[in-house]
């Protein structure tokens, strides 16, 4: 089913935020909507959005490629995005990341074998006073986890793995 059909109410609401003659502005919220499906923007979603906004698929792909929170490839159900930028690193974020890798048995950029968690290093998330911290990006959106320890993170990972299949 096309995006416009499946999410007709959301699409209408998004388009209403921008002047009718500038409907291209809706591309970013529509891409988020498309990512709800599988956690990344697939080709048919790009075509759907292109049709809605009179944009070419190439133009849509260039937006997806430019912004880091859009993805064009499948990854784990949850992308665990750890800030390793300067202020967090001054408070131990790099050691935190190393420990997470060791505990999860994967390297940065890899996904756990069960396909649940992809571990990513990201730039500043504006939570410099609450390091170590990460956000979890999933088809449901984004969620911050601040002042974290390795133990608490692994508990969270276990919970995600358990509910993994069940989470909408």
């Amino acid at each position: 089913m096309s995006l416009a059909k499946k999410y007709s109410r959301e699409v209408k609401q998004i388009l209403s935020k921008y002047p009718a003659e500038h409907k291209r502005s809706a591309v970013m919220p529509l891409l988020y909507l498309a990512q709800r499906e599988e956690g990344y923007v697939n080709k048919s979603a790009m075509q759907d959005i292109g049709k809605l906004l009179d944009m070419t698929e190439t133009e849509i792909a260039s937006i997806v490629g430019f912004y880091t929170l859009y993805h064009d490839e499948k990854a784990g159900k949850y992308r665990m995005q750890v800030c390793t930028d300067l202020p967090c690193a001054l408070r131990g974020a790099e050691n935190f990341m190393d420990s997470l890798c060791a505990n999860l048995g994967i390297k940065v950029g890899e996904t756990t074998p069960d396909g649940i968690v992809t571990l990513e290093a990201v730039t500043c998330l504006a939570a410099c006073d609450k390091a170590p911290m990460f956000q979890i990006q999933s088809s449901n959106g984004l969620e911050y986890h601040e002042n974290m320890t390795v133990d608490r993170t692994m508990e969270l990972v276990e919970a995600l793995k358990k509910s993994g299949a069940g989470v909408e």
């Binding site: 002047p19 502005s25 970013m28 430019f66 912004y67 300067l86 500043c124 410099c128 006073d129």
Partner: protein
């Protein structure tokens, strides 16, 4: 002294509409719309001495007065992109004092005659955007946003727009491109947004903290605001303290507070009692200040920090102690800017790439001493040549780090 911006720390539940109203909420907006001319609002803000809190420090009222009144419609865009390493004030403001921020957006909109305003939040502020959407709906319900406000002809809508992970979108013209549904790459200026902004129309772009000042400035007057702070830097500022301090966080303080007061009185001093080695007063884009007693006793206002060879910018104070080597610090900032360079202009796209390779080689310790000179040379070559401030920012810590902490680069060479 009572807070101006972080009032939620003194008033519980300030993010609830009835509590905000009870504490004077929307009085300023109502007064402006029903009793004042837009130009009078601009004059109050001009006289208050308020300067942009996003980093550039440009006088806010003056920025508004550049709006071209021959071209319509006008727009206001609130810059809630907050992506600079070391900056984390706007999220706290929006989460905990959202109505004061939104009333600020409304006041700015009235002052420049905008009937639509967009709040551009970085994509990571997904939950904050959802929260603001609820608050905007409550304001519409209560008659503070919508058509014919307070029985006048003035109408206003506020919308949120989520970015998707791109530091560059904090640059105002890149932000406008992004709202227009394009890649967030800066425009060549001039023309400035006040003439050619969103959808090619006159637009004011102001930072969240800047806007959050407005309701109290309008309520209490320009002289009251000026009486806080210093002659050069009026009012209060949210200082975001991070790095090797015991109590990192946001501290609202008058301009003119010293680094020592911020770090030791408010921030609880340095972890493990170590000495401060360097300060970056404006986040990752900041020049690096080598710290001695004189620096610690310097008042934090725009003019005084400049005498230390740095800018106060957004007042995102990153503190570095003597356990940290500066070559590592600049490797972090270079990797950040390399990642965030939008690729539009050659000096930044290529310069950040080469700086990254040079610092990686230096950090690996497998290169000739001339690499440090070459790195400094690349940084200097970039300066003054980039299309937007991001490129310039990427060089600041590099150039000042090498110049002011040469010993930290010698060590890396001989390793």
């Amino acid at each position: 002294m009572a807070s101006v911006i972080l009032r939620h720390r003194e008033i519980p539940d300030l993010n609830k509409l009835n509590v905000y109203k009870k504490n004077g909420g929307f009085d300023a907006f109502k007064k402006a719309v029903t009793k004042m001319q837009p130009s009078e609002v601009t004059d109050v803000v001009k006289n208050s001495g308020l300067r942009g809190r996003g980093g550039a420090g440009f006088p806010t009222g003056m920025k508004w007065s550049f709006i071209d009144n021959k071209i319509w419609p006008h727009y206001v865009v609130a810059n809630a992109d907050e992506s600079e390493p070391g900056t984390f004030k706007d999220r706290e403001i929006m989460e905990s004092n959202p109505f004061q921020f939104l009333e600020g957006v409304a006041l700015a909109s009235f002052a420049v005659g905008a009937k639509a305003a967009y709040v551009y939040l970085r994509g990571e502020f997904w939950q904050v955007a959802k929260f603001l959407d609820e608050k905007i709906a409550e304001m519409e319900e209560a008659g503070y946003l919508g058509d014919k406000l307070f029985g006048t002809e003035y109408s206003l809508k506020i919308y949120t727009h989520l970015g998707a992970g791109a530091y560059i979108c904090g640059e105002e013209t890149a932000m406008l491109e992004s709202i227009e549904g394009k890649r967030g790459q800066p425009r060549i200026r001039p023309p400035f947004p006040a003439v050619y902004g969103l959808y090619g129309k006159p637009t004011v772009v102001n930072n969240v903290e800047t806007l959050t000042n407005l309701p109290l400035i309008l309520a209490n007057g320009a002289d009251w605001y000026k009486s806080l702070g210093t002659p050069d830097s009026a009012g209060v500022k949210v200082f975001s303290l991070s790095g090797r301090v015991r109590k990192p966080g946001n501290y609202e303080l008058p301009f003119g507070t010293t680094f020592r007061q911020l770090i030791y009185e408010h921030g609880g001093g340095i972890l493990d009692g170590r000495p401060v080695k360097a300060i970056m007063p404006a986040g990752a884009s900041s020049s690096m200040i080598a710290v001695d007693d004189k620096v610690l006793d310097t008042p934090m206002d725009y003019a005084s920090v400049r005498t230390l060879g740095a800018d106060l910018g957004s007042a995102s104070v990153i503190v570095i102690d003597d356990t940290v080597s500066i070559d590592w610090v600049i490797s972090k900032t270079i990797h950040f800017f390399k990642h965030e360079s939008c690729g539009k202009c050659t000096p930044c796209r290529e310069g950040t790439y080469w700086m990254m390779h040079l610092i990686d080689d230096i950090r690996d310790g497998n290169h000739s001493p001339s690499n440090v000179d070459l790195l400094l040379n690349v940084a200097r070559q970039m300066q003054g040549k980039c299309l937007c401030p991001l490129g310039e920012f990427s060089t600041m810590a590099v150039a000042t780090g090498i110049e002011r902490f040469p010993q930290d680069f010698k060590k890396a060479e001989t390793q």
